[in-house]
Symmetry: C2
Subunit: 367 residues, 2 copies
């Protein structure tokens, strides 16, 4: 039995394992109690192997030997590496993102290749160091909301449009200001934040564009990366400049209440789908829809080296919450005729129950 | 025969096909002359299908039907979709990044699953619209170099350290300033730029960190994304604050000359490896090493929806240059005792020969 990855550290499992950034695909092999990371000249020296318990191997000489033996493709090179660094191992476990053509080539050479997903399930439970890193990313994310709140506070309303510094305020402009706040705080919006308003806000994954109207909800879903640590945060606030309609206010109140009730239930041993069930129940009791309209997504997900990772917090989740899980609780309501509302916080599951990873009030209407 | 993708638009092939951003994995099926993209409520409305010739299908109802039939996993759902939208097709072609466990599940159900790589080879040849988009990203990238040059021009030297605004200048600080320039220009540093100096600059993929010393080379490799179009640029300049050593100056001159000679040879019909060969020859003639040290990487690569894509411009490339290819020409020299030098420009292959995608002088020493 050997474990095998062939990827860059965009693969969060490899990133977690080697605690460094490698921008091109590299092989990683674990056979027995030995772990090897194969690097070329461009990456060697970027990875500090000492502290993480794996051996780094410069592939240059190996490549020369392999080529002399007739190796031409990266898949053939993998066979070559396995013969030398995992001799006799014919059963390989890989992540689901493992290159399909390389897997097929290994199978042609007599290897049994199986997928394990998640590849490192232990990654869902965060260490104290990881929790600190994520608390930092979350605190930097809040600086984005503070910037938005400051701008909306300074903004005016003209002919129904929200204006700032003498011009109509747009999603693009708000995003630019948040990006600047992020850069100054040391985090980066690598995945593309959502700041969407009006009918766009009713499409949960619409990134948002164009002018913002008074009285319309503005969904701000921010999920920056701290490149130094590799950890994301993921938080959402929804605002309205001026007065919301009674219906929009009712949607906001219902989402806020559903979130509060769901978060109260977060504790070790709770079924993740129970948290989702509370949201569905609360919103349904409030007269809102869940499923095809209204609340159209699931309640949350783990966060870490990926914005969305294990555990899942949805209707069909089979996950049980454990101390060290960091999950989002993010109920929402979406009606094209009214707009969208989403409030998302990050919750750390603790031995005693839970705690918010970062606190920031959910204000809605900004006068 | 059907083509099949299951991915988010982080997959550049899907991004190219649907001309929109989708943040979670979705199925795309092409069977005969029909193309389908399957979206849920969160993504529907983000994708404007009309102009691109594929049909968007809301999966909500399909999921309900599938679940009633006992479908539980995403792989089972793919079998369900194929039966309805590519009936009778048992031979599937997928990208190499296709989920391995899903491919295996399809094979268990009698499908033959083969990899095609590149999945859309026609993506390497850029349309006029794509060239315009990339020219724009490249022009925004130059704003990063202008910012660096302005800072290095304003900077002073104290005790051998480069200082700016009264404090030691660092890689991190320069990156922050470039990021701000990028945000203001409308592009984003999603992949993590390189600004490395001293011994770090001699490790081509080192991202760079820490204080910058006078007389040491500073490799600035910038490759931002224009999120509106999805297109990257990739350009590198190397600077030195103060006076470089004669050896470092000789390295710079050799790299600049090798780049000029290699670019001159870029024309339709040229073998990409011929361009690489010119760089190797020139640097070798100049008394520098190529291979294990000195020039340790290949001469270039295509750029587009990925920072690195086809064609490849290296020793073992089998690609022939065609009008519409946009490649980098980026010779470099790396010696830990002297530092690193790299100059990278983007070259469009035209019917007549080639043209620079954007012009920006390669200044080295900044007094």
């Amino acid at each position: 039995m050997a474990d095998l990855i062939y990827d860059s550290t965009k693969n969060a499992d490899l990133r977690w394992k080697i605690k460094a950034e490698v921008s091109d695909p590299v092989p990683w092999i674990r056979a027995g109690d030995k772990e090897y990371l194969f690097l070329d000249h461009r990456e060697m020296g970027v990875v500090n192997a000492g502290k993480t318990g794996f051996e780094t191997v410069l592939i240059t000489t190996l490549l020369d030997i392999a080529r002399a033996e007739g190796v031409r493709t990266r898949a053939e090179f993998m066979v070559f590496l396995l013969a030398r660094f995992a001799p006799g191992e014919k059963s390989l476990t890989v992540p689901r993102s493992f290159p399909l053509d390389m897997a097929d080539h290994l199978r042609l050479h007599g290897f049994v290749v199986d997928v394990r997903h998640p590849f490192f399930p232990e990654r869902a439970v965060k260490t104290d160091e990881e929790i600190d890193a994520m608390r930092h990313t979350a605190a930097c994310t809040v600086k984005g909301f503070e910037r938005i709140e400051k701008i909306l506070g300074e903004a005016g309303i003209e002919d129904g449009l929200v204006t700032w510094q003498g011009a109509p305020l747009t999603s693009e402009w708000l995003k630019e200001e948040v990006e600047i706040a992020f850069v100054r705080a040391g985090v980066a919006d690598v995945e593309g934040m959502i700041i969407s308003s009006g009918p766009h806000a009713a499409i949960p994954h619409h990134k948002g564009e164009g002018r913002i109207r008074a009285g319309e909800s503005i969904v701000c879903d921010l999920f920056p990366l701290d490149r130094r640590t590799g950890y994301f945060a993921d938080l959402t606030r929804t605002y309205v400049k001026g007065a919301p309609s009674p219906r929009l206010q009712a949607m906001f109140d219902a989402v806020k209440e559903a979130q509060a009730r769901a978060m109260k239930a977060v504790r070790p041993g709770a079924a993740a789908r129970e948290i989702d069930g509370i949201v569905r129940h609360e919103l349904g009791e409030g007269g809102f829809d869940t499923g095809d309209k209204g609340f159209t997504h699931s309640t949350g997900h783990g966060v870490g080296l990926e914005v969305h990772e294990a555990p899942s917090v949805g209707e069909r989740s089979t996950d049980t919450l454990q101390p060290g899980h960091i999950i989002t609780v993010e109920p929402g309501l979406y009606y094209p005729e009214h707009g969208g509302i989403r409030i998302e916080d990050m919750v750390l599951v603790t031995e005693m129950g839970h705690e918010l990873l970062v606190e920031h009030p959910s204000v809605f209407a900004i006068a």
